[in-house]
Symmetry: C2
């Protein structure tokens, strides 16, 4: 298709008229769809229901160490759950604490602990005038919300297809002692879907931070969330890379089964050096008697081992792959060549990241909403909810049914076209 920018004003006005008619049509279909969050679909979640049968009232409810999972004890997780996460993430069980149901909660608590008590004897952040975090953008809104909540100054780091701009990261981290952390989603990144290159991971592990309490907040949220069997992204294991580079304590890794078993009903884990975990455990002793060991047992009995998880993930992929492809086809078919937006084709994760013409994202999201399609708020993928280009939109294709998704795709591309046209026309006026 001929790019909009190369069409005459008359052609554009003609196109606009046609699009408006189509948009009215689409709006008339009365869609009411929330695509704002990355959620598995209702049908998809049924594949995990067997977990609920893995233990019942007649089961042996002792864990591998012989302790009764019905009673107090084992604050940092049952041995077999630690082992499962260790195998999945290629670390040792000594590097794992199994928590409750939410890795976001672990991240929040990790930041909160640094704020109130400091990391390994360093000054608590609440006593510092300035605490800064590097935020590869576009990124995950809930990461940014946590650091914003604690008054942390967030610095944009541009991302490309290999990950964050490491020149810039090194410049900040190695020079400024106020830089205390970087948020990373290294695999099938939220929202861009890209996976960090080996070189990026190794440069990350080899940072020479000016701050002793600088940490990489490594949210490995989509570690096993491949869409394809044939092409699976892998990244070097970060703990050992950090250790090799002389930075054994420089990373906190987060992981959960929210998008493996049940969102909100799964397990979450913190992975880090034994030194870091010793400090975490000391504080956990104050905070809790431990997490739900019965749910840990239920998960391990069902999945059996890491391979069991990987097999299970293929079933998820079977639900998700066609949805991603539906959206990508609509984008390609309807927007290809128009030069009013770009997107990446992810091989895993939960999102498609769409970059509209600068200044158009908010208007596109608003336009879609007029026709009943709720997208993630424009700007959400940037710290403070402010996308300086007003360009990035996160598309979460997994929750809708195929029928809803077809209509949602139509509404989305119509919104992109209309808003872009208006921008181009306004610039010509």
């Amino acid at each position: 298709m001929k790019p909009y920018s190369e069409r005459t004003t008359e052609e554009l006005l003609q196109e606009k008229q046609e699009l408006e008619a189509k948009f009215e049509d689409a709006r008339g279909k009365g869609l009411k769809l929330d695509m704002s969050r990355g959620k598995p679909s209702t049908e998809q979640l049924k594949i995990s229901r067997g977990i609920l049968d893995a233990i019942d009232s007649t089961s042996d409810l002792n864990c591998a160490s012989g302790q009764d999972c019905c009673n107090y004890g084992l604050m940092d997780g049952i041995p077999e759950a630690k082992q499962l996460f260790a195998d999945l993430l290629e670390v040792s069980p000594e590097n794992v604490i199994v928590y409750g149901n939410s890795s976001l909660n672990i991240m929040y608590d990790t930041i909160s602990r640094a704020y109130t008590h400091g990391i390994l004897g360093n000054t608590p952040w609440c006593r510092l005038d300035s605490v800064k975090f590097l935020c590869p953008v576009p990124g995950y809104d809930r990461h940014f919300s946590v650091t914003e909540h604690f008054g942390v100054e967030m610095i944009h780091i541009p991302m490309d297809e290999n990950g964050p701009d490491m020149d810039l990261v090194e410049q900040y981290v190695n020079r400024d002692p106020a830089v205390k952390g970087i948020w990373c989603v290294p695999k099938y990144s939220n929202p861009t879907g890209i996976t960090y290159s080996d070189e990026v991971v190794r440069r990350m592990a080899s940072l020479k931070p000016a701050a002793a309490d600088f940490r990489i907040y490594w949210d490995n949220a989509y570690a096993f969330h491949h869409l394809y069997d044939e092409v699976q992204d892998e990244i070097p294991e970060i703990l050992s890379e950090c250790a090799k580079a002389g930075n054994p304590d420089m990373v906190y890794e987060f992981c959960s089964t929210s998008k493996i078993s049940f969102p909100g009903g799964g397990l979450a884990a913190l992975v880090s050096s034994e030194t870091n975990l010793k400090e975490v455990r000391a504080q956990m002793t104050i905070q809790t008697i431990g997490h739900d060991k019965l749910n840990q047992l239920r998960h391990v009995r069902y999945f059996k081992n890491a391979q069991g998880v990987r097999e299970h993930m293929k079933k998820h992929a079977d639900f998700m792959r066609p949805k991603f492809e539906t959206v990508l086809q609509v984008l390609e078919k309807e927007l290809g060549g128009l030069e009013i937006g770009s997107w990446v084709r992810p091989r895993g994760g939960y999102f498609i990241s769409f970059d509209a013409l600068p200044g158009c994202a908010k208007a596109i999201v608003a336009k879609s909403k007029e026709a009943g399609l709720v997208l993630t708020g424009a700007g959400a993928t940037y710290p403070y909810g402010k996308d300086p280009q007003d360009s990035n939109i996160r598309i979460a294709p997994t929750y809708p049914t195929p029928e809803e998704l077809a209509l949602a795709g139509e509404i989305f591309v119509l919104s992109v076209k209309l808003v872009s046209l208006e921008k181009i026309l306004a610039e010509r006026a």
Copy 2:
């Protein structure tokens, strides 16, 4: 029996010799028992196993509002779980947030939030020079650990059979703006087993705090944990008492099913005014996508309603009552009249509180340990682990088997007698 203090030194030396022989006998039996924490016994927990069958892979997993408990959503709890806690605690569901598995974790997070962000617009505690808490003593060690962790200065408030000394509480709370809270276990208190009188509850609700962010931290941990059918302690509902007294936002109430369903595998709830909960929800939005709704569903489907919980608690009592009575009988039989210790006969809860002669508690705990009986560390029932009288010992009789308990009781009274004798003899020397 004749009080030790009235016996001759010769009689005491004779008694000491006999006790030492008996102690050696008891030690020879090789007991290895940890009675340090209030835990249900393994057998007792089997009564809750039906909960595990309440949902399975074939169940309708939508909650009362029609949402799928397998997916994200409902951050503050499913409607039927809120209703269950509301009915149990005689409040409205709008006053309830259902959390994960641990009320201690809610308490920690509540204190942490006050420390980092302040309560309802008041200065965050981390920015204050002095934050004080009133601590009725003896009390719950984990409460004191939380406030100690955040650098809060803890002030002892003596307890009698009606609860904390309210004259002293009023004096501190109504005059000193640095006093930000009081820890309370109002029913079957940990460890004394006493229940606050109606007058104490009403005076508590009628405080006129000097600090706008003063709150009562009302840990209703044993609300339904009666030992007897015939005599059940009840207390006025604290939220409505506070509201009546013009203090609608003055209380955070905590509750869990840890000792109803499964320790570590149950549900916990925060109960407070809508104004307080609105603030809590705003922060929760940053911290988590919500707690385990499947476990909430499992619990509500099993218990059905508040009456179901109350019936279930009778089964727990059937296990616990004989254990309490065994210990109380040993104390009465072996120590009655000797004037070397006092204790209360609780009607509920998990503990028997024993007051030894001043200066003897640590030695008694150490002596018991020599014979394989681990008790809660002496001092643990006081802030900073320091009992100024070195007198209070918390006995947790629920976990051991009846056989272990008989031997443990023997070791305990022998230890009390020996240590007390030595003290009296030393004073005469």
